[in-house]
């Protein structure tokens, strides 16, 4: 595999100027909480290309705008490691406050916004200077960080306080606290920015917020057949077609496929144990679901809505980022 790397590096160097057309490395990056590594998988063969050593308890991951860098939150070491995607190595790190949980990077790649779960804060960090610009108080146990498509607002979920804090990106002022279900986790905005969808893990549904009125306007409920007890939605992502939402139901070991327009569940797919985070392939054909309770990743054909296979990764996998 070593011989391959220089060639790949060359490929990336050549590919970057192509901008949006860049096909990437063809790799999948998976953070493994208990191994303190990021597993790099070849997205065609699903062979392990490399296990990159990171800080302790790597969880959330986000790209730099050109995808040349991958930011990896190593929460137990209170830092965000920076992986150079061409070299597949940690080359530097950022310190966005204590125990960064989830985070987001602005579209221009300049600011990283992280939640500090134990301190009930959200940290705004200047990436190039590695300087904390601001820290704002949130509710108890802040979690998901999602930036609106127009980059004007950032929405932060607060698990214990059961609220969404709507924060102005410039002033860092909290514009609204919106009460949702119990334990709000992850979210996405519709491409037009009008709706914000957020999972409520304990209440077991998705709240949809009208971003103009700053008000909950609807809920998506789940009722997979043959699943007794609680359904716990955690991961959520808008599909490449912009019309389909995918929600992971941790306890139920299911992935819900939801029609965004009708807000109805279209299908449930059986995935691994405690399915959490998810991402899509660059060619929009595949969906990858990380199963943190079975140490593997489910590969799903988006069009066929079928699970193709499941591949093992490290221990307690958390997030996946596709670069193919």
């Amino acid at each position: 595999m070593k011989q391959l790397l220089p060639i790949l590096a060359l490929f990336v160097v050549l590919a970057v100027p192509e901008g949006a057309l860049a096909k990437g490395t063809g790799y999948l990056f998976i953070s493994n909480e208990k191994d303190h590594t990021v597993t790099v998988l070849d997205s065609k063969t699903f062979e392990v290309v490399k296990n990159i050593q990171t800080g302790r308890r790597p969880r959330d991951m986000q790209w730099s705008p050109d995808k040349s860098l991958l930011y990896v939150g190593a929460s137990a070491d209170s830092r965000v490691d920076i992986i150079d995607v061409a070299r597949l190595e940690v080359v530097d790190y950022l310190i966005p406050g204590d125990d960064p949980d989830q985070f987001a990077v602005t579209e221009d790649g300049k600011i990283l916004i992280a939640t500090n779960e134990d301190d009930n804060l959200a940290t705004f960090l200047d990436i190039s200077e590695n300087i904390i610009l601001d820290q704002i108080p949130t509710g108890v146990e802040p979690e998901g960080v999602t930036i609106s498509p127009d980059s004007k607002r950032v929405y932060i979920t607060s698990e214990v306080s059961q609220m969404i804090h709507v924060v102005d990106m410039e002033s860092h002022e909290v514009l609204a606290d919106i009460l949702v279900g119990s334990r709000p986790r992850r979210a996405f905005f519709t491409p037009d920015g009008r709706e914000y969808w957020v999972t409520n893990e304990i209440s077991g549904y998705v709240s949809i917020i009208d971003t103009e009125k700053l008000k909950v306007i609807d809920e998506v409920h789940f009722d997979p057949k043959g699943v007794p007890g609680d359904v716990t939605p955690v991961g959520i992502a808008l599909g490449p077609d912009g019309k389909t939402a995918y929600v992971t139901l941790g306890h139920a070991n299911r992935l819900a496929v939801v029609d965004v327009r009708t807000r109805k569940v279209r299908r449930y797919l059986l995935v691994g144990t405690r399915a959490w985070n998810l991402d899509f392939s660059g060619d929009k054909k595949f969906l990858y679901v990380v199963n943190s309770g079975s140490d593997d990743v489910s590969i799903i054909d988006i069009e066929a809505e079928k699970v193709l296979k499941t591949v093992p990764v490290g221990r307690y996998p958390h997030a996946l980022k596709a670069d193919n």
Binding site: V140, S161, M163, D177, L179, G204, D218, T232
Partner: protein, 401 residues
């Protein structure tokens, strides 16, 4: 579609954002009472002198810390409504004392919700005495089955699981493991006997066989070695028992049982594998966050009763938040709402049983350092709610509210 709740907060209300120029809105104070009884006649299960020695500030520790950390969380929930929570603690040696404190807190501070940390008889008496007042009590420290049965009260809620729930959980675990023949070692305390009563009931419900009940004594008397030596107490043929259940509410004897049994068998109950409401080692469902918040603040581990006090505070603050009102009637209504999903950090959303005001919840099967299993086990089904396989289910309740 369900009812939606919406709170929008003016920037000025956000404490950290205040510049001082805005006219501050006077926050309404919501006083929660904390009544602490005398535990000299302790019914505490699993207390041990070595444990207590390591706890400088709490000898023996009380669930007040759990209530305080619940208070911290509640402040965030109250903020959007302009409510500040205040916890007022009063102590008393008996129910009479506590009732006087309750009346004072009610009269002078308008406190209507009380967390009570007192032994079962005091708790029962206090609930009876206060039944004519407009108040609501949370039992956060007694496992007694009687409080959920003949001594139950409409104004008393229970966040701590009772012995029947714990023993049912243990029985489910043993049945799944097929460790069906149980040797019971029973202590001399009244609480030990109650534990055995609860275990007998659970054994019957889930199909365990109690092969023998032997009585231990906490002495060194050589003439009583049949009762004070584990080796004597656990004599038996190779296939006579699969597991040893120790009923030892005070915990002092049970420490010496594991590895001293004559047959190589696991020990359960007060020691070995113990059913609990909460454990510091639990790694899932957000438990590490609340455990670490607690440990950083109090320098000790959060236990069952801390958790019970914490979740009682959370029950109240969520009721206020979700109903948008701090009226007692509205809090009560919320607590009895069978659709609520209280996030108890044990994986699901829970609510209170209508027939005895007991909080439904899973039980953690714990060793000293690990949560081995979470019960109810999936093999045990229930027509309405799987959690009702633990403890007093509706058809068998002896409580009439």
């Amino acid at each position: 579609m369900r009812r939606f709740f919406f709170i929008m907060l003016a920037i000025a209300f956000w404490p950290a954002m205040q510049t001082g120029s805005e006219a501050a809105v006077e926050p309404a104070l919501l006083v929660i009472g904390y009544l602490e009884g005398d535990w000299t006649a302790s019914e505490e299960w699993d207390r041990h002198p070595a444990d207590m020695g390591r706890l400088p500030n709490y000898l023996p520790h009380r669930p007040l810390a759990g209530a305080e950390i619940g208070m911290d969380d509640a402040q965030y929930l109250g903020r959007g409504m302009g409510i500040t929570y205040v916890l007022k603690r009063r102590t008393g040696k008996d129910a009479e004392d506590l009732f006087t404190a309750l009346k004072t807190l009610n009269g002078e501070h308008g406190a209507e919700v009380f967390l009570v940390d007192a032994p079962a008889p005091v708790m029962a008496e206090l609930a009876e005495m206060s039944s004519s007042l407009d108040v609501l009590l949370f039992n956060v420290s007694s496992y007694a089955d009687s409080l959920r049965a003949e001594e139950c009260a409409w104004n008393m809620f229970h966040t701590l699981p009772n012995n029947a729930m714990l023993m049912d959980a243990l029985a489910q675990f043993l049945v799944v493991k097929k460790w069906l023949r149980v040797l019971v070692l029973e202590g001399p305390q009244a609480e030990d006997r109650k534990m055995v009563t609860a275990f007998r009931r659970a054994a019957k419900r889930f199909g365990l066989k109690i092969v023998d009940v032997r009585h231990f004594l906490l002495t060194q008397d050589p003439r009583a070695r049949e009762s004070n030596r584990v080796e004597q107490l656990t004599l038996g043929d190779a296939d006579s028992y699969d597991t040893v259940f120790v009923a030892d509410a005070h915990g002092e004897f049970s420490y010496r049982v594991p590895y001293r049994t004559v047959l190589p068998r696991p020990v359960v109950g007060a020691r070995g594998l113990t059913p609990r409401a909460w454990h510091w080692s639990y790694l899932r469902h957000g438990a590490p966050q609340v455990n670490s918040r607690f440990e950083r603040k109090y320098g000790r581990r959060m236990d069952d009763r801390d958790w019970a006090a914490w979740i009682a505070m959370k029950s109240v603050s969520e009721a206020v938040l979700r109903r948008g009102s701090s009226e007692l009637a509205s809090i009560r209504e919320h607590l009895l709402d069978q659709d609520i999903k209280l996030d108890a950090f044990k994986g699901g959303g829970y609510n209170y049983r209508l027939w005895d005001n007991q909080l439904r919840q899973p039980i953690l099967m714990t060793t000293d350092s690990w949560v081995t299993s979470v019960v109810p086990h999936k093999a045990f089904l229930h027509a309405e709610n799987k959690l009702d396989t633990l403890g007093f289910d509706k058809p068998e309740t002896r409580c009439s509210l």
